[in-house]
Each structure stands twice: as C-alpha cells, then as structure tokens.
C-alpha cells in the first residue's frame, strides 16, 4: 500500500508565528484518522497547512510523493476536499447548486458532473432538499449538503474541521456513520472533540499539544486515561 499522504517535519503558522512544529505523519489510501487536542494546540492549523491555506515555514506535505505547494489550486482540490466547521450558507443558492460547486476542480464535462452530483445527493439522502435555499435549512441539513459536496468533489482525501460540533445527537451519529462508510474508499482526517465518538468510529488518533504530536495510535491506546490527563489537564 503506497503512501497517499506523507507529512514530513512540517512547521507552519500565521505571519511570523510558528504554531505547529516538526509534524510527521503518513498514511495509506484509506482510513479514518481523528485529530484531537486542547484548544490552541494547532489541529486546525495543521489541517489548513495540509490544505495549502497557510505559510509553511519548513518541511513538506506530499500526496503520492508530490509536494502540495507545487500543485496548482485546482489540482490540490482534486486530491483533497474540505468540510469546514460552522459555515454560513450563502443566500439565494439551492442545495444542489452548492453541491455542484464541488465539481469545479474537475473539467469533466456535463454528464460526469451530473452523475457525481446525483450520486452524492442520493447518498446523503438530500433528494427532498436539493432545490431548497440553503440559507433556509437547518444547520444539520446544511452539514449534510457540505458532505455531499465533498463527495461530489471525488477526492481521495477528505479533511474535516469539527464537522459535528453544532449538530444535535441524531445528526452527530448519522454523520459519523456516513464517514465510517466512506472509510474503505477514502482517507478521512477530521478534527474532533468528542472522545466517545472517536473511540467508536475512528481507527487512528493523533493527539496534539502545543503544536506537536504527542501520540499517534489506535483510539484505545491514544485515549487511555493518563495520556488524556496529561494532554487535556483533566
């Protein structure tokens, strides 16, 4: 199994400030990785750096051996999709139009686009919502739209930033279930705060503190009592 994503010695941050230091990580082409840690530890920064949204001070991020910095933004978008945290939906667009935006990086032609869009609508059970104005649907429903968009983007890697933070229990579990079902096809890396959910659904946990990786192991090990105590101070 060749390496899909390899992060080597990555240090990145904002302006002159170095938030994450010397991050090393590698993964094959499928799996569900949870990124955890206290506030300010750099997990969102790490996601952003991998996505190419931040300055990298040293180190690199390679996707199948290719440095993400040397890819154009469209090529990057064909390899990685991003589902943000609470994102405010723009008014005047239907759910289907938002999902269709995921097809932008591909210059695939009308039929291929239609197929991908319809598949993701079906998979995320959005048929009855596809023509609704996204500024009028609930937060949970919009989250499903965002996941559908990421699906339509047809990328090998999916990056998520606290996708369940503002959802109630039912949607939280639904979302995790859907992500788990994608595990065999994609590499999913998500920032999570809920240790119970992570224990149940993820197969690898990266624990961070103060900008470095403290643990990189299956949930049972990484989320053991003493480690949690040390990292989170509880």
């Amino acid at each position: 199994m060749s390496e899909l994503l390899k992060i080597h010695g990555l240090s990145a941050g904002y302006g002159q400030k170095n938030i994450i230091k010397d991050i090393c990580f590698s993964s094959g082409s499928c799996g569900f990785v949870a990124l955890m840690g206290p506030n300010g530890c750099g997990k969102t920064t790490l996601l952003r750096a991998v996505l190419g949204l931040l300055r990298i001070f040293s180190g690199n991020v390679l996707i199948r051996g290719e440095d993400v910095r040397s890819m154009g933004s469209k090529k990057r978008a064909k390899k990685m999709s991003f589902i943000p945290q609470a994102s405010s939906p723009p008014a005047g667009f239907s759910a289907e139009e938002i999902i269709a935006m995921g097809r932008y990086p591909h210059d695939a032609g009308h039929d291929a686009d239609r197929l991908a869009i319809e598949n993701s609508i079906r998979r995320m059970d959005l048929n009855n919502l596809k023509d609704s104005d996204v500024s009028r649907i609930s937060g949970g429903e919009y989250q499903r739209v965002l996941i559908a968009r990421a699906l339509a983007q047809e990328t090998e890697i999916m990056l998520l930033d606290e996708p369940t933070a503002h959802l109630d229990i039912k949607y939280r579990l639904d979302t995790m279930h859907i992500l788990k079902s994608l595990k065999p096809e994609k590499l999913i890396i998500g920032v999570f705060h809920d240790t119970d959910l992570v224990r149940k659904y993820a197969d690898r946990v990266i624990l961070m503190k103060s900008g470095t990786i403290v643990a990189d192991a299956p949930p049972g090990e990484a989320l053991a009592g003493n480690l949690i105590h040390e990292v989170f101070g509880v």
Binding site: G52, S73, Q153
Partner: protein, 317 residues
C-alpha cells in the same frame, strides 16, 4: 428552476427591445427612422440613437458592476455609488478633462482612480477574518463624501457650477458615436471578464477557505472582478457623470426572481439595467421638455423608494 430562468431571460430581452424602441421613437421632438427629411435623419441617427445606445450600455455596465461588487464583497449593499468608486472615477475624469486631455486618456485616468478608490475601501474594511460588511459600507460612505468634496473643488476651480450639476447627477446629453464606441468596448471587456469568473464568484461566496479548498484562486478572482467592476463604473462615470442606485437595485430585483447564482445573475442584471436606464433617460428628457432632468435624479426617485422597500422586505439582507 431551469425553465423559470429561461422565462426570465426571455422577458428581459423583450423588455430591452421595448425600451430601446420607446427610447428611439419618443423624445422632445417627434421623429422616426422613416422620416424623409435630412433634419429628421440627423436628429434620429445623430442625436437620438447614440443617446439611447449609450444609456443602454451604461445601464448594463453599472448593473453588472453592482452585481459583481455585491458578490466579491459579500455585501448586498454594495454598488459603485455607495462605495465611492463612482466618486473616485469622477474625480480622475474631471481632473483630466480640466487638464484638457483627450477622451481616451480621461477614461484611463478614471479607471485608475476608480481602482484606487476600490483599493482604499477594501483595505480599510479588511480584517484577518475577511471583509466586514458594516465597515465596508461605512468606509464607502466616508470615501464617497471625501472624494465627492474633492470633486466639487476640482470642478469649481476649473469650471462652472453647471459642470457640478453634470458630474453629481449624470446626463446622457453628451452622447455621440465616439462615446458609444468607447463605452461598448469597455462594456465588452468588463462584462465578459465578469461572466468568465461568475462561477468562481459563486464559490467565493462560501468563504475564502472553502473556496480555496475547491480550487479557486481567491485573490486572482477578486482582483479580476474588482478591476472589471472598476472599469465598468469608471468609464460610465467619465462619460455620463455619477448615476446612482442602478448598480444597487437591479441585481436585487434579479435575485428576487432567479436567486443568487452569479452565472445567471450577472448577464440578467446587464439586460435589466440597460432597459432601466434607457427608460430613465427617456423620462429625463421628456418629463419637463424641452428642459432636461438629470438622469441621476430620475434613478434616485425610482431607486431610493425601491431600496427602502427591499430593506423592509428582506429579512436576511
């Protein structure tokens, strides 16, 4: 939804044809293209038609400019007038006219000063989390007042009160075939850039991070779109003075009908804007004929109440 869009476009084209016809056939003097006399021909083709065409082109330019600004700045209250871009363009244009520079140079200077105004407004209101709409509008109002004052000073120093009238309220009375040609060229450039980037503009509305993750080069799109919007409003102002409300109202009306998807919104705004301004110009030259109302007064009379209505109606403005 697709069929609705087709219906709306059909209606817009019909409206444009009707207003162009009305604008050409009505005026302070009764002429038609079928008249024999040399004078009628001269009036119809030399005065009436250039004027109607210029009004249509400028109407399209201002509406597209407004639609683009509303998208790029994620602020439904944006238009070149409110943001001070028109004032900036007018200042550059008035200054270069006072210096006796030829028309083409006047338009170029107008474009550059409009860009400078956009740049200033944009940088004043930018924070690390993006552009804040309230700050943007306030910055625009402040800049607009400042530049407007400078504009009046420049005009009074170099010219007469009459010119102030022209610059601040607009007029199509200077329309000529040359103006029409330059306006058409600027419109073609600015509107085609806007349409080219319209899909990316949609994605930009999601927010910079999401847009970047979808492969959109956010800064390139912004620069291209802001430049297009500036070009469109600068050339309009250089030829016809400041005409307010068109860029603000027209995209909103279109949105009410077909939603916010810029791929359809931008061209539709152009069509409706053209019809609107041709009609406004017709009113401005017939209401108190043979005297003329400045067209900006007509657009304000129609636009301001409509704007208030829009504010009251929309809960998510």
């Amino acid at each position: 939804m697709r069929t609705k869009i087709i219906h709306v476009y059909f209606l817009l084209l019909l409206l444009l044809a009707a207003s162009l016809a009305a604008g050409s056939l009505f005026g302070s003097v009764a002429v038609s293209p079928f008249d024999d006399s040399r004078i009628s021909e001269m009036i119809f083709w030399g005065i009436r038609i250039p004027r109607v065409l210029l009004a249509a082109i400028v109407g399209a330019m201002l509406s597209v400019s407004g639609a683009v600004l509303q998208g790029v700045l994620k602020n439904p209250l944006s238009d070149p007038y409110i943001l001070g871009i028109s004032a900036g363009g007018a200042l550059g244009a008035a200054g270069s006219i006072a210096a006796g520079l030829p028309l083409f140079v006047v338009c170029a200077v107008s474009f550059i000063s409009a860009l400078a105004a956009v740049g200033m407004v944009y940088s004043f209101s930018r924070t690390s989390s993006g552009v804040r709409p309230e700050v943007l509008v306030l910055a625009g109002v402040a800049l607009s007042s400042l530049l407007g004052a400078a504009l009046v000073a420049v005009i009074l120093a170099s010219d007469s009160l009459q010119s102030v009238y022209f610059w601040l309220f607009g007029s199509f009375s200077f329309a000529s075939p040359v103006f029409v040609k330059i306006a058409a060229a600027a419109a073609a450039a600015g509107i085609s850039v806007s349409i080219f980037f319209s899909r990316q503009l949609n994605i930009l509305l999601l927010g910079d991070e999401e847009a970047a993750s979808l492969g959109v080069n956010t800064s390139a799109v912004r620069i291209a779109m802001l430049s297009a919007a500036s070009l469109l409003s600068a050339v309009s102002v250089a030829m016809c003075g400041i005409i307010g409300f068109v860029g603000l109202i027209i995209p909103h009306i279109i949105r009410l009908a077909i939603g916010g998807n810029n791929v359809f919104l931008i061209p539709a705004s152009g069509l409706l804007g053209a019809s609107f301004l041709v009609t406004a110009d017709l009113l401005s030259r017939t209401l108190i004929s043979p005297a003329e109302l400045p067209v900006g007064v007509v657009t304000a009379f129609i636009g301001a109440p409509f704007f208030i209505y829009l504010l009251r109606r929309r809960t998510d403005v």
